[in-house]
Each structure stands twice: as C-alpha cells, then as structure tokens.
C-alpha cells in the first residue's frame, strides 16, 4: 500500500510540476493545488499507514494510528486553502488590470 501511495504521490507531483510550469495562470494555480494534495498524502504516508485504529480514544482500542501527522496535515490544508484563495483573486485582479492571464505576457519590463 505504501509503495502504491508513494507512486501516486510521484505522479501527482509530476503533474503538479508540469502544470505549474505552464503559461496560463489558472493552470499554475491548479498546479499548486495538486502539489498540496501530493504533500498531504506524503505527510500521511511518511507517518506510517494503517498502523493502528482511528485516533479516537473512546471509539477504538490501542494501538492508534499516528495522530500527529494528521494534525499537521490539517494545518497544512487550511493554510493551502488560504493561499489558494489569495492567489486566485490575485490572478483575476491581475487579469483585470494587465489584460492577460498569460504569464509570458506578464513578463514585466525590466529597465532598458
């Protein structure tokens, strides 16, 4: 199972990398979203999969699965939500004012 999930993580990462290298800003943002999917799975996998029961004390018996990675992922999910929301709005604000969603066109005019 771990092997399978790690391969999945690899695929997700590769896809995310390809997306983030795109010219279109939406593809880039989707790339960041896929990146976060991949890393959430990674954290969970690195913490060890299926090693115990649900980390609810009254509900199940020990041994419990590692709860700490879960807490970390939760934090990471919320943060990546915040960032995604921000960059989405940034993207459309940039489109409104610069008239392009193509990062090639958003190159910027460094002097000279």
């Amino acid at each position: 199972m771990e092997t399978l999930i790690i391969i999945l993580i690899g695929i997700l990462t590769a896809v995310a990398t390809y997306l983030i290298l795109s010219r279109n800003i939406i593809r880039v943002i989707l790339g960041t979203a896929v990146f976060s999917h991949a890393v959430h799975l990674l954290i969970l996998t690195m913490g060890g999969l299926k090693k115990g029961s649900v980390p609810l004390l009254k509900e199940a018996d020990a041994p419990y699965t590692d709860a700490l990675p879960q807490a970390l992922i939760l934090t990471a999910i919320v943060i990546s939500f915040a960032v995604t929301a921000f960059i989405l709005v940034l993207a459309y604000r940039a489109y409104q004012d610069l008239g392009s969603d193509d990062l090639h066109a958003l190159r910027g005019t460094n002097d000279e």
């Binding site: 029961s53 649900v54 609810l56 509900e59 199940a60």
Partner: protein, 94 residues
C-alpha cells in the same frame, strides 16, 4: 462472508467512480461532467458508509453527511456557473 460482500461492494463503488471519472474527462458538455461529479460524490458517500463497517468505527459517519451537503453545494455552484457564469448574484432578478 459479510466482509467479503462488503469488500466486493466497495470495489463496485470504486468501479462506478472510475466510470464517472471517464465521463468527467470525456464530457462533452459541462453538465455531463457535473452529473458525473455528483455521481462520484454519491458513490463516495456509500463507500464511506461501507468502509465504516469494515473498519468497525463510527468515526466517519459525520463525513457522510458532510459529503452529502458538499456534493449538493458543489452541484448548485457548478450548475449556476454553467447557467449564468455568476454563482453568487448581487441582486436577484425577481
């Protein structure tokens, strides 16, 4: 016996999800994809219910309801997007 049946059921739900994914990728229209997404949501609900039985835990029953809620909200949002482009309106026409 029961476990085997449940795992079979799970595999079937997963299979349905895979089929729905095909529809999402294939389209051709956006409503087609929406229908398929809705279907994935519904199958996930079933899957969670079955997994809960397999894992002998009630911990995921909240997830079922939440998934129901969210599938609904997502469908509304996408439909409105397809229909009007705007999903939250300033002021209703009527």
């Amino acid at each position: 016996m029961v476990e085997k049946i449940l795992l079979t059921a799970l595999a079937l739900f997963a299979f349905s999800i895979a089929i729905a994914l095909y529809r999402i990728i294939k389209g051709p229209s956006m409503p087609d994809r929406t229908v398929a997404l809705d279907m994935i949501g519904v199958n996930l609900i079933s899957s969670i219910a079955v997994i809960s039985i397999v894992l002998k835990t009630k911990a995921f029953l909240e997830a079922i309801l939440i998934l129901g809620i969210l599938a609904f909200i997502s469908t509304i949002a996408i439909s409105k997007y397809v229909e009007r482009g705007v999903i939250v309106e300033h002021k209703s026409d009527n």
